[in-house]
């Protein structure tokens, strides 16, 4: 856990936030406030019968951990206050969750906790803060600080990153310089890596330009650019590209069919590569909206690597008649599941289409992620109803395509969710 994910006893966390929100900070805070949400959720998951994890568990039950259905409750509290020229912001989540077949688990965390102010024409922030960049919806190559996981099933409060940030704004230009994870150990990877990131934003009429740069302690330099263009009253087009020197990834040290005696997957640095996104949104007068995005992601395994992976999945069970213990084969199959965590994109080339309709209080949406290389799909249908204080969300997600498509190999093949949120 990061240095700012404070593990405090729940009552202490609650009291801290309530005090911050209601006590005017030694009687000097201006307009302190406290608001938040209570969420009740239930996610039902159906485990698939294909893929290496399903094979592993079929051979040796419970060899591979697979996310089960969960039900839980979350309380999110947010507060902000100003003390002279310094603003204090904090948000925290208290969560209790019951996973099918497990005991309930209670957690608390600060999602954000930072101070902010202004000096010499620059805005500054210090602490744990959500900083999201880039222009895409389903894929954001230049989200260099937050590195948010996209296409999650139901919306949830983001956890910020520990950072120091300076920003300068004028009418059409914004500069942002962020030192993210300043206290993180060198071993930190991905979003946990200590890095310096910068963004230059320029508004030019119907066009928004962004330029990005990031230098990580061990991933070195990456550069990016993005643009969003309102082409007409109804149409917005966007694109984003990033070129990187290295990326944190996982690689398997074993090729071929022979079982391994140790986990062959290890963290490593990839070589140079690119991530490219193009997309657009069309919205009608009646609030029907169509989003289309396509992207290429060099951080994902290549087609050849997936072919080798599939071949190994098929070859490993053939060792059973040769006297290799079922537990060993099952373990090797379970390790194969680590390929799913190599990148946020499973396949390098992806197409995403989302059709939505906002009608009064109702938002209905249908989206499909399609991987052309193996014709895999993930289809999600969702509906949201927003009341005065209550919001109801529900949806279904199903994986489709040929049996050998990577998306069909994922352990969970069907999910349904329902979330009730009460805002105060």
């Amino acid at each position: 856990m990061g240095t700012f994910l404070l593990r405090l006893p729940n009552p202490v966390l609650v009291c801290a936030l309530v005090l911050l929100g209601t006590t005017p900070l030694a009687a000097r805070a201006d307009d302190p406030n406290l608001d938040g949400t209570v969420r009740l959720y239930r996610i039902g998951r159906t485990v698939g019968d294909t893929g290496p994890l399903a094979q592993a568990n079929a051979l040796q039950p419970r060899t591979a951990g697979v996310d089960g259905s969960v039900a839980g409750a979350q309380v999110e509290l947010r507060t902000s206050a100003s003390v002279s020229a310094v603003q204090v912001h904090a948000s925290a989540t208290l969560q209790t969750q019951q996973t099918q077949g497990s005991a309930s688990e209670t957690q608390s965390r600060f999602n954000e906790a930072y101070v902010a102010g202004q000096a010499m024409g620059w805005q500054w922030s210090a602490g744990k803060k959500v900083v999201s960049w880039d222009v895409g919806y389903a894929f954001r190559p230049n989200d260099m600080v937050q590195q948010e996981v996209r296409r999650t099933l139901a919306s949830e409060a983001l956890q910020g990153r520990a950072l120091l940030m300076a920003e300068h704004f004028d009418a059409d230009t914004a500069w942002s310089v962020v030192w993210v994870n300043p206290t993180q150990e060198r071993a930190g990877t991905g979003a946990q890596e200590a890095a310096v990131a910068a963004r230059l934003y320029q508004h030019h009429g119907a066009l928004d330009w962004h330029a990005f740069a990031r230098h990580g302690e061990h991933t070195a330099t990456s550069l990016g650019a993005a643009a969003s263009w309102v082409a007409s009253d109804a149409l917005e087009l966007h694109a984003s590209v990033r070129a990187y020197r290295h990326m944190d990834t996982l690689a398997s040290g074993v090729t071929g069919a022979a079982p391994s005696t140790a986990d062959p997957w290890h963290a490593t640095l990839s070589g140079a590569g690119q991530q490219v996104l193009v997309g657009g949104t069309w919205t009608s007068e009646s609030q029907v909206s169509l989003l289309v995005e396509a992207w290429h992601d060099d951080t994902a395994l290549t087609d050849r690597q997936w072919r080798d992976w599939t071949a190994r999945n098929q070859a490993l069970p053939t060792w059973l008649p040769k006297g290799v213990a079922a537990a060993a084969v099952a373990g090797n199959l379970a390790w194969q599941g680590k390929a799913f965590g190599v990148s946020n994109s499973l396949r390098q080339d992806n197409l995403f289409v989302r059709l939505s309709w906002q009608n009064d209080r109702w938002l209905t949406a249908l989206d499909v992620l399609y991987t052309p290389a193996d014709q895999g799909t993930v289809t999600t249908a969702s509906i949201v109803w927003s009341g005065e204080r209550f919001k109801l969300e529900a949806g279904l997600r199903a994986h489709g395509g040929p049996g050998d498509a990577v998306l069909r190999q994922l352990p969970v093949q069907r999910q349904g969710y329902a979330v009730v949120t009460w805002a105060f």
Binding site: D30, D31, D35, S80, S82, Q87, H89, A116, Q123, K129, V130, V131, S132, W133, D134, V135, Q146, S155, A157, L158, E167, F169, D170, A171, D172, T173, A174, S176, Y201, H203, G205, A206, D208, S228, V230, S232, D233, A234, L235, E236, H238, T281, T283, S284, E285, S286, Q287, S289, Q358, N359, D360, R361, S386, G387, E388, R389, F390, K391, A423, F424
Partner: protein, 303 residues
């Protein structure tokens, strides 16, 4: 502008102009001339047959010049009328307006209520902060024809199209836009009853959007004859469908100084009634950085 010397009998439009019932009539007629220019009618041909061939050219030129001048004058008049009408909603160039939006079902029951803080600034710049619990943290920035949205929790300003700004019973444009002058031009249609069944008369203005980013492409607006306060309006979207009908409630009907409430009735789908109440207005010029789209992700103290 009316003092230009032309022979009314030589110009069909000008002929009607002699039937002047009031100052507004002149404006109405000049607007006809302006529309002729706008649609590219062959104005010179209208002088044919009213003089000899030598004088024909001169007459035509005079008419073109007159028409252009009258058209310009009409535009100025419309702008002046719209500025007058705007003043009842936007009493200063830079305002902070606390707004309450209440939506009623067709049976009169309350459907929902929302609160907004609107920083309406000069040069068609507005920042809208959603204050109701269910949408707290949501922000919309409007810079002329350009729009951005920040959803709660995302911390990522999102460029949106004019169509996406139409969301909801009261669109962001309804809440944040309080100026017609500069966004619209048009013509004075005439003097009509302020309400369809009423006896009080108003000036009926027909307005066309001059910018692509406005919420409504066409507005039929009725304003008071004496003070030019807005009374009611028919609001048409880009496809020229009637989207909403608006009614403006003044603080003092007999001596209006400010619009206290705007009542919108949806005509496209649900026929719901939306009441936009202006709870308070105060002069407030926000720092320039607040109007930078990327600044939406920050949370400045409002006071």
């Amino acid at each position: 502008m009316i003092s230009l010397s032309i022979d009314p009998s030589k110009h069909a439009t000008a002929t009607t102009a002699t039937k002047s019932y009031g100052w507004w009539r002149h404006r109405s007629l000049t607007s006809t001339a302006r529309s002729n220019v706008a649609v590219g009618l062959p104005l010179a041909r209208r002088g044919e047959g009213v003089g000899g061939s030598g004088g024909k050219t001169l007459a035509s030129l005079l008419m073109v010049a007159t028409t252009l001048l009258l058209g310009t004058a009409n535009a100025q008049d419309i702008t002046a009328l719209l500025k007058d009408a705007d003043h009842f909603r936007m009493s200063a160039d830079n305002l902070q307006v606390e707004t309450q939006v209440t939506v009623f079902n067709t049976d009169g029951s309350q459907d929902k209520e929302r609160r907004y803080t609107v920083f309406a600034q000069s040069e068609r710049k507005s920042l809208v902060l959603m204050q109701s619990p269910v949408e707290k943290g949501q922000k919309v920035l409007m810079l002329g024809d350009d729009f951005w949205l920040l959803m709660p929790g995302s911390q990522r300003p999102l460029r949106i199209t004019p169509m996406q700004k139409l969301l909801g019973d009261a669109s962001t444009g309804d809440i944040a836009t309080m100026n017609w002058a500069g966004d619209y031009s048009g013509q004075i249609v005439g003097e009509e009853a302020c309400q369809p069944e009423g006896k009080t008369t108003c000036l009926h203005l027909s307005l066309q959007a001059q910018r692509k980013g406005v919420t409504y492409q066409r507005i039929e607006l009725w304003i008071g004859k004496a003070r030019h306060e807005p009374v009611r309006a028919d609001l048409f979207v880009q496809s020229d469908k009637l989207a909403k009908q608006a009614r403006y409630v003044m603080d003092k009907p007999s001596n209006p100084t400010t619009v206290t409430e705007m009542v919108l009735v949806d005509q496209l789908s649900n026929k719901k009634e939306t009441r936009i109440r202006y709870l308070s207005r105060k002069e407030r010029t926000v720092p320039p950085e607040w109007l930078n789209p990327m600044f939406l992700a920050r949370n400045p103290a409002l006071e």
